[in-house]
């Protein structure tokens, strides 16, 4: 079947999304403590869950990123990306509402700041929208 230009955009977005998630995961795996400290700035999870999340989430990002780049199980891959974006969105939004200066830790450590928080939110929405677009094309392809 001939691919439309929308399909080609979806392929480009899928590979870009996968690359971004895989990179973000690797950076977090390399400095797990910095990522755990970033999660702590959100004041959302108890101490018992922070390190568990810092241990597992980066690997999930790498695996899902790899799936998207390789084009394997892309439909569920994009669903997982959308779920992760939704979780990040809730975490960042609650931090903004509570007036917390957080460091999202999305691409490793950094200084907590309001500007960083706003940028993280915008970036998260953009990634979620891109994932939704890829999912929509994948869903069409599956019929």
């Amino acid at each position: 079947m001939k691919k439309s230009w929308l399909d080609w955009i979806a392929i480009g977005l899928r590979i870009t999304l996968g690359g971004i998630f895989a990179y973000a995961g690797v950076v977090k795996i390399l400095d797990g403590q910095a990522f755990a400290d970033s999660i702590h700035t959100f004041r959302l999870l108890p101490a018992e869950l922070i390190n568990l999340l810092a241990i597992g989430l980066p690997v999930l990002e790498v695996l899902v990123g790899g799936m998207l780049v390789a084009g394997l199980r892309s439909r569920i891959g994009t669903v997982l990306v959308m779920l992760m974006c939704l979780v990040f969105l809730i975490a960042i939004s609650q931090a903004m509402i509570r007036g917390l200066e957080v460091n999202c830790g999305c691409f490793g450590g950094g200084k907590p700041s309001v500007a960083q928080t706003v940028w993280s939110l915008v970036r998260d929405v953009m990634l979620g929208a891109a994932a939704f677009f890829v999912f929509w094309r994948e869903q069409k392809r599956h019929g």
């Binding site: 390190n51 241990i55 200066e101």
Partner: protein, 185 residues
């Protein structure tokens, strides 16, 4: 309005099962990877302050009590005071930022004492520090929003150094004022 209950298609069931598998595998792989780190993360999170406190506790076993002078010293320094302090060179200046940032640029004569690697850096500097016990020590980190300088100040105070002041503005304020910088080759 009636809501029809449609059964989940076989392909979606398969996809969801795969998602559960990949999530489980991620945490299993993560736990294994964590064991191979130089400093594996403990299962329960410890804040920066708690980690530094544990380090100080392990160092305090060997620490000797240091006499406190009667002279009063400030606990915080403004940019002007800090600049004079650096120029006079009467006490030590510590950079609490990660060592890599110290290499790229620091306040002249500042010594790297990173919060995240306090134990190793302090052990290396201990002899030099003890000869300066009656003088003011100044600590800075990246900016007013970073907490590393205050954590290092508290750690040094617990180790018996009574005169430790923080330059709150940190590296950001220093460079914004276009004051001299030094780089570690």
């Amino acid at each position: 309005m009636t809501i029809s209950k449609q059964p989940l298609s076989a392909s979606w069931k398969d996809e969801l099962l795969f998602a559960v598998l990949i999530i489980t595998a991620s945490w299993c792989v993560g736990l294994v990877v964590n064991q191979f780190r130089d400093h594996p993360l403990p299962l329960v999170y410890e804040s920066k302050a708690e980690r530094l406190e544990n380090t100080v506790r392990s160092l305090s076993v060997e620490a000797k009590p240091i006499p406190v002078s009667a002279q009063s010293f400030p606990s915080e320094l403004s940019l002007g005071d800090f600049e004079v302090f650096v120029k006079q060179g009467k006490g030590l200046v510590f950079d609490a930022r990660p060592e890599i940032f110290h290499r790229f640029g620091h306040v002249p004569s500042a010594i790297s004492l990173p919060r995240e690697d306090f134990e190793a850096a302090y052990t290396r500097l201990k002899d030099r520090l003890e000869t300066k016990h009656d003088q003011l020590l100044a600590v800075y980190c990246s900016s007013i929003s970073c907490e590393d300088a205050q954590l290092v100040q508290a750690a040094l105070q617990k180790l018996g150094y009574a005169h430790v002041a923080v330059f709150r503005g940190g590296w950001d304020e220093w460079t914004r004022a276009r004051l001299p910088e030094e780089k570690t080759p």
